[in-house]
Symmetry: C2
Subunit: 310 residues, 2 copies
Amino acid sequence: MSLLAIGTVAFDAIETPFGKTDKILGGAATFIGLAASNFYKDINIVSVVGDDFPEDYIKMLQSHGVNTNGLQVKQGEKTFFWSGKYHNDMNSRDTLDTQLNVLENFDPIIPESYQDCKYLMLGNLAPAVQKTVIERMTNRPKLIVMDTMNFWMDIAMDELKETLKLIDVLSINDEEARQLSGEYSLVKAAQKILTMGPKYLVIKKGEHGALLFHGNEVFFAPALPLEDVFDPTGAGDTFAGGFIGYLAQTDDISFENMKRALIHGSALASFCVEKFGTERLVGLKSEEIDERIQDFIDLVQFDITLENSL
Amino acid sequence: MSLLAIGTVAFDAIETPFGKTDKILGGAATFIGLAASNFYKDINIVSVVGDDFPEDYIKMLQSHGVNTNGLQVKQGEKTFFWSGKYHNDMNSRDTLDTQLNVLENFDPIIPESYQDCKYLMLGNLAPAVQKTVIERMTNRPKLIVMDTMNFWMDIAMDELKETLKLIDVLSINDEEARQLSGEYSLVKAAQKILTMGPKYLVIKKGEHGALLFHGNEVFFAPALPLEDVFDPTGAGDTFAGGFIGYLAQTDDISFENMKRALIHGSALASFCVEKFGTERLVGLKSEEIDERIQDFIDLVQFDITLENSL
């Protein structure tokens, strides 16, 4: 079995109150692959870059156990580029530049060697492309997790709704959940979205943690209170990568295990935001992750015996 | 021993997206007393009302175990009145009217029978009045918890800082923590505020839960995801009342027990917002509270053994 992640492999140029970068490594599949690699080693990615993409980045991904056979390199074309500037509160950002480049005509070709996929992570891409990937799998994966964003709700809601019917877990942020459902209350939003296809819904609330909904059950994973959020870019993808990587490692998709997966995803996201781009994720040590997960346990663990009220 | 709560007893007129009320019962001491009464029965309040304040409200408080000997009734004067309108997101509100009335010259007289106070809750009032109450206690209470708001930071920061030196636990919201400390990061804000006097700091984040800081330790109590927040008025005071009521009941001010107290306070606050004003708190049953606390346990409880990362 293997874990397949599709999504962008890209260049980002980022400006935050703490500094700015030139073109650095970014992209959903990059963050997902790096994050998942902390828990699981048979990771395949499907994506596309131009001939301007450094061989060193590809080697770095491979050295983390990410198989790049499905990473198409288009000669004479340029890699997807995004540039953004975060505001002081780090919760909102302006997109300064988006150059689709190779992404414009991306055809997600699945190498034959990827067909043993059991865990499929559909990183943020056009819903029609995400659907194509599902259709190209010979056997339906055990679990399909999907990320998307408000952009597709604005311009491709119908395709998005078609793709939603085919997946198991949807991972979006609070504003996206509100837009998708038309409900302000996240509880009501979740109830509605769970009738659209996904059996599980993760609502990411950034510094306020994440909620997991399934049937009538709900679980909350906090975000770790940090002195500073240095750069939030990729945090959502890192979260998703940690989530599905942990599920693949344990090969257990029960609600109880999804709770643990959510905590593991949150722990990885808390590293991601400490430095620019992928910097903190490259070479991350398992002891560091264990310590961080202990921080999460300490943060929310309490011991109540229900016989206190009068 | 007893629990003493000072704060307003007031009339509120509230407008939310779900409806509006005429003058109903409100005030910090009211919510604190009602909330605390679920866990502890020797509760005294010090406050002031006018002769327009209905005897029925006083009887209702008494029937919940709240001693009103320290509630001054000023003949020929009017009760403090606040009117506000909540926006659609329920996180922000406009004050439509504030009539200080009896509060203008409030002298917090402590009845002799209140001097066995072990747990003192200073509800939101002018910092100088809060300080006077501390000074009028013959013996220093075991624990002094204080609430305040941005209003006093704007107009009475020096008095506020003097009062802060005398207390144990400060309970404020995230924006107030930022204003008091001058730090945007709540972690940095907490570090600074913990040098100002309080040994414990609770930062309330509304629908995003609450953080408890003490030394280098931090604990997070979630808010329960609700279908609708009907009326947030009094939620912060209810939270504080549940918190100190639980501490008084258990007579244990360890950090571990404060975590439990925070969960109990959060549970009571989750009831408060379900209806207008004190409506949901009046006659609240202990079985309902136990069920709600079980919801909190289910919401954040997970079971991780640290041997998962590769």
